[in-house]
Amino acid sequence: MTGGSVTFEELEAGAEIGRREISVTRSDLVRYAGASGDFNPIHWNNDFALAVELPGVIAHGMFTMGAAVQLVVDWVADPGAVVDYQTRFTKSVPVSDTTGTDEPGALLEVVGTIGALNAEARTARVDLMVTNAGQRVLTKAQAVVRLA
């Protein structure tokens, strides 16, 4: 489906589509665990995470991947237009316990850029740069969207 307002002709490789910050708390990870069914305790129990040699509770890679692509969904204005989405998880995202405060446990920054255009398929590849405290946490994060 192609219900969005973005049209293929107006796009240019290299152009930025937008950027946003995503605040992450322990409560977000509990919510993601419940919604996804991924209850691995490394995402909610600090002692358990330390016991398996992690720095502490870390975000689900799939939370980061799923939240980062929302920049693309909102830009194309159609969640069904994302026909392909891939990433490598290169760095874990430790989330500190800020329960009871307004502080994020981690703050992700997402920047989207048009990486490539395919005129025949009328698709655009959006490359996402996702960083936590200045370090890239996703590599080769690419979403292919079908456009009107």
Partner: protein
């Protein structure tokens, strides 16, 4: 227990059907901080041409990880879930997933590679509607960390 190299090439046939419910789409959309109305409001989804609420682009992970659970639970696999780290993920949507879909997943173990004391395992879930229509192909690579990794 080391990872069993004979897992490569194994296929787990579709187990139970996954019923895609509206409330699950809403719950999952909230959990990934999605705000597009097509995840929450049926009229908004239908105005974009969909039959019902549209799932977020990474929703198929629910179905894929249920299929992966068969492999992890397989006593022959040797996988310690607490030492599993997600390394790579890809979703290819043959069509969007919408509420009301009844999905099955066939799991293929495409590659098992020893890495230090652990292993990298690549699985592929072929997700289809009950009619047999292909809906999505998901590929996951997990790293099972060995001691000290």
């Amino acid at each position: 227990m080391p990872i069993n190299p004979d897992l490569q090439g194994r296929v787990y046939p579709p187990a139970e059907v996954y019923d895609v419910a509206r409330e699950k789409i809403r719950e999952f959309a909230h959990a990934v901080k999605a705000v597009h109305p097509a995840h929450f409001d049926v009229d908004a989804a239908q105005s974009l041409g969909y039959a019902d609420l549209v799932a977020p682009p990474s929703f198929a992970i629910i179905v894929a990880q249920r299929a992966d659970a068969q492999l992890i639970a397989d006593p022959e696999s040797g996988i310690d879930f607490s030492r599993v780290v997600h390394a790579e993920q890809r979703f290819t949507h043959h069509r969007p997933i919408v509420a009301g879909d009844r999905l099955t997943a066939e799991l293929h173990v495409d590659q098992v590679r020893a890495m230090g004391g652990g292993a990298m395992i690549t699985t592929r879930a072929e997700i289809a509607a009950e009619s047999g229509e292909k809906v999505a192909t998901t590929t996951s690579s997990i790293l099972v960390r060995g001691e000290g990794q």
